[in-house]
Each structure stands twice: as structure tokens, then as C-alpha cells.
Assembly symmetry: C2
Homo-oligomer: 343 residues x 2
Amino acid sequence: MEQITIREIAKLCGVGVSTVSRAINDHPDINDATKQLVMETIRKYNYVPNNSARNLKRSDSNTIAVLIKGITNPFFADMIQVLEREVTGRKYSFVLQHVEEFEDEVDVALLLEKEKRLKGIVFLGGISNRTGEKLSLLGVPYVISTVEAGFGEETAMVAVDNEKESRRMVEYLLSCGHEKIALLAAKKDDASIGMLRHRGYRTALEKSGRDYDEELVMWTRDESLTYTMENGYALAKELLESGREFTCIYAISDSMAIGACKALFDAGKRVPEDYSVAGFDGLDLAKYYEPSITTVRQPRKEMAEATIRLLFDMIEQKPVRMRQLFEAQMVPGKSTRIRKKGK
Amino acid sequence: MEQITIREIAKLCGVGVSTVSRAINDHPDINDATKQLVMETIRKYNYVPNNSARNLKRSDSNTIAVLIKGITNPFFADMIQVLEREVTGRKYSFVLQHVEEFEDEVDVALLLEKEKRLKGIVFLGGISNRTGEKLSLLGVPYVISTVEAGFGEETAMVAVDNEKESRRMVEYLLSCGHEKIALLAAKKDDASIGMLRHRGYRTALEKSGRDYDEELVMWTRDESLTYTMENGYALAKELLESGREFTCIYAISDSMAIGACKALFDAGKRVPEDYSVAGFDGLDLAKYYEPSITTVRQPRKEMAEATIRLLFDMIEQKPVRMRQLFEAQMVPGKSTRIRKKGK
């Protein structure tokens, strides 16, 4: 059977080829009705967009590499789609490089750079001021995305203010009447967002006149992967078994918060009746969990778009604002409750 | 400060360099106590494994590309780590290529192939007998992983028998006394695992003498992403609002099952007291959800390892078994209940 072409699809829909391409690539600049019409026509004629301009141009185009630490973290998975769309929309190739937990992403970047088509790099998560020192060795523009720890003014960066947002969460929990808030924290020597979220927790307590109680901070063990349900489960279980007094668990990620909920359920406790639980990130999962998780939502889509915009402005040597901080949003869920005095 | 070397770490631990490397790379061939000692020493001396043999060799080594459709699917995210470890453990580079929902992965593979260092390809998910026809154009060995739809005997493939495992799930639900089992299915024209899981559902009903009721099959809409919580939520909501009678929802993925649970909760229903819900895949999430989701667990780690083993056997022109089917495991959770007659 003769394959229908993108031109014929465009004609059938009464739109231009670029509109069909936008529909296929889930580009935001297309209205829903047109997009639906295009997609229906594509399905009806069994069009496979294999000869799209995008693919044909891929082989000889410039490349943007995204280095990601923590591929299993759903927080990043959602961002990748936006990064990919923004990069290919600019006719660049998109390469995703997975970096292992104990690998140095800057070393990986330095090797990738030998690829002569590489025009820019995005570091997605993971990077810290420990590895950051070697960034100056990179010869192509780069943007650090979702992490804002300890870099100088000359480092391009898109993130939320993790310390401030973490503080906001703890202030919210305090305002709900929780006095004994346990923290499920990163590793004790974390030098990235884990450190900042811990700092926000501590600052919120101290600024409100409470004591910071190291006993209520559950550090992730060296051998564990920090931002996982498994880790949240293990830390909450350990906390419960310690017999320490608390009314609320604040986990520094939604995945950890979900693990913590499960540990509480398995111990016969209810959330939020017996214990409140809060997370951080604003994953879809937090919304679909039962009870929905109280969280701080990072504007992932906007951050991903800003990351690519900043990177291309640097590539094109336009004047840029190197440090772009986004506001997160407090999202109360059903996993926390308001405590009345003395209860 | 002088960086400590991997040799010094090995010496301090009384082990060989390769053991340190195994600990760093989370390789299975190392006992837990040794691994813990190595990791503690690494942390203590602040060793950053940046000059590991693995990284230095990366730049001039051969490459294996993994093409993944559905990067946001947690089912694949978990497999990537194993694939990466198995590839780099063989001193090859590992490149992850994200393929968009409407992109043809074989076209992308054909372009990647122009990279002269590319020695093999893994297709992770997505591929169907529609795109499969052009596979013969590929000049390097490839393995299709987690999909077994409609390919010939000459196509290298590692997967579970999706139809059989889906049938097993429905037989389990029937054995629990559910007569009216609704299916949250893929798109109606799906030609991959969605089609096979639907077929398993239908076969189980018919072989047990029940009617297959098209009314209870909720097909994913064209504009939706099939294997998502959002889609499961939308389909279950539509099912509930249709007023059709059912006692159990079987969703063809765990993510969809979780979305379905949430739709039931939001409608004031209980799981499993009012409705049972089952999924497919065996994600960690299914275990941490409350109630835990009844599911069929695919042996992801084993499948990922077999995928790379098969690919390298092909690269080395060893005799191979081209079609490798794995057994999945029925995992009853708390989201389904046994129905007594007439209730």
C-alpha cells in the first residue's frame, strides 16, 4: 500500500504541513480542535510520520545533550518530554545521557563534548558544588536544571529556591498545628538539593522559635537511593520503631512521602488521622495517591522550557539572565490534617 | 587536596580494584558486606570515581543505543539502569534515545546507525508490526525488548507472553468470583502489547464460557497517552458514569489501575469493598499504593539482562535463541477481593 504523505494529510485537513508537524510533535502552538482533526486524519489514513522533516534533518543537525542523574525519578521523566520537544523544535538533535548515581556528570560531559556536533549541555539533577568545580573546563554552553546549590553567578541555572520552598512547607505544617515534625532527609553529606531542603526545614523551625531536634531527622543511609519510595518506607519504619514522638512526617520528595505512608499503613496507622505526611515536588503520583499527598509543586514544564531557552540564548550569544529562580506552589492534599491544640 | 585513587581505596579495603568498581557500579557479583565497606571507605575519603576505567574508555569505545518510547513510563525507567550496567560492564558506551509517541523508531534507528561506532540497538517498548517491516533495513544487530507482537522467527526478541499473562490475570479474577470484569484497554487500533493484553482478556472470558461484552471494554481515546494514571482515571470515570454494571476493573497497566482507583475514590467508592481493581506490569508503585494493586509482574531485571546478553551474542556471531519468552508472576494485592456468589 502506498504510504500517504504529510502533504496529503495537510491537504485533507486544510492546513499547512507545519501545522501537521506541530500536531504530531505535540507542540503548544496549535489549537486543540485543529490538533484533534489532524490526529484523527493521521489515524484514519494510517499515516506513519516516518519521513517527517524532523527525522530527515536529524542526521546532519547539531546536538544538545541532556545528562540525567536518576532516570528512575519520575520528576525528571516528565521534564524530558518538554526538553526534547523544545530542542527538536529548534531543529537540533536531542541526546539523553544517563549518568549513574556514583558517576561524575561533568566527566561524562567532557567526553560527550568530543562529539563535534555537540552544541550545548543540560545537566538535569544530581550535580552539586562538589562536581561543580570542573564545569569551567567545558567548552560549550551548559545549563544546570532543577538544582541551584552553591554555584557562582557565572553558572547558568534554572531551578526553584529549594531552601525557601522547603521552609514554606514546614511553615505550612507548623501553621496546621504540628509541633513535632520529623524529616526524611537525604544523605548527611548531601551537597545538593537535599542539603537545601534540610536547611529550609531547620530554618523554619528556628525562625518560629522551635528547637531543631536532630533526633527527628532521618538521614538516608549511604547505600540507599535517596529519592525513592523504598527509602521513604525504610526511613519511616525506622522512625516509628524508634519510639520517638512526632505527629507529622515531612519527606523531601513525593516518592519518599508515599513510601512513608505505606510504612505507616503497614504498621496499622492511618494517614492523616494518626500521622500527617507531606512531600516535595508535585508529582502526578502525589495527586493520584490515596490520600493525595500535601506537596510543594515545582513548575516543571516552565522550568524545562526556560532551560532550553536559556541554553539557546547562550549558544546564540544573546544577553542572558544566568540564574533563573522559579516560584513553587504549595499544594495541600489529604495526607495532612490540622491539629487542634493538645491533640 | 590530592584526590584519592581507586587503587588506594582498594588497598584500604583489602580488595581488588575490580571489586571497588563492582561496588561503585552496583554490580550484583559482590557481597553486601564488602560493598558496604567499599562504599563507606569511598565516602570517608571523599573519593569521586571520575577517573574510573569506565569513563576513560567511554570516549573511544563502541556504542549500543537504546531507543525508548515512553520515557515517562516507570516500567521502562527501572529497566534502563540494568541495560546501562550490562552495556558499560562490557566496555561499550550506552546511548539512550528517546522516541516520541508518534515517531517511527525504526527511522530513528536507521539514522543512528550512521554513527560508525554503533554496534547494536535495543528497542525498548513501542515497536509494533506496523513499524516492524522496515527492521530488515537495519545493518547492525538489534533486539526488541518487552514487546512480542507479530514479528517473525528471525527477529530477536525478549518479552513475556503478553496474551497468556493477560489471560492468566483474567482467569484469576474470574476465580475470585468476578463475572463482570471491565477492561481499561489501549487504543482500538493498537498493534502491540495493548492488542495482546486485550486478546488475553477476551480469550479468558470465552474459554470459560462467558460472553465477551464489548460494552465493558473502555478503549483509550486517540488523543490520550495509553499507559498513564491520567488515562486510567479518565476511562474509569467514563465507565462509572455510563452506569454499566461491573464488579471489577482490569487495567492493562499498573499506572492505569492506580488512576482507576483514584477515580473510584473520587466517586465515593471503596476498593476493593465496592469494586476490585487489577493492573499489569508489577511496578514498585503497585506495591506502595494503598491498597496494593493486584498485578502480573514482569521479570524486568531478568528481561533487561537477557536483552543485552542476546544482543552481544549476536554481535559476536554466536548461535542464539532469537525469541526468548519469560514467565510473569501473578501477584495478588489488596485491591481485589473474593466475591461470594450473589454479592
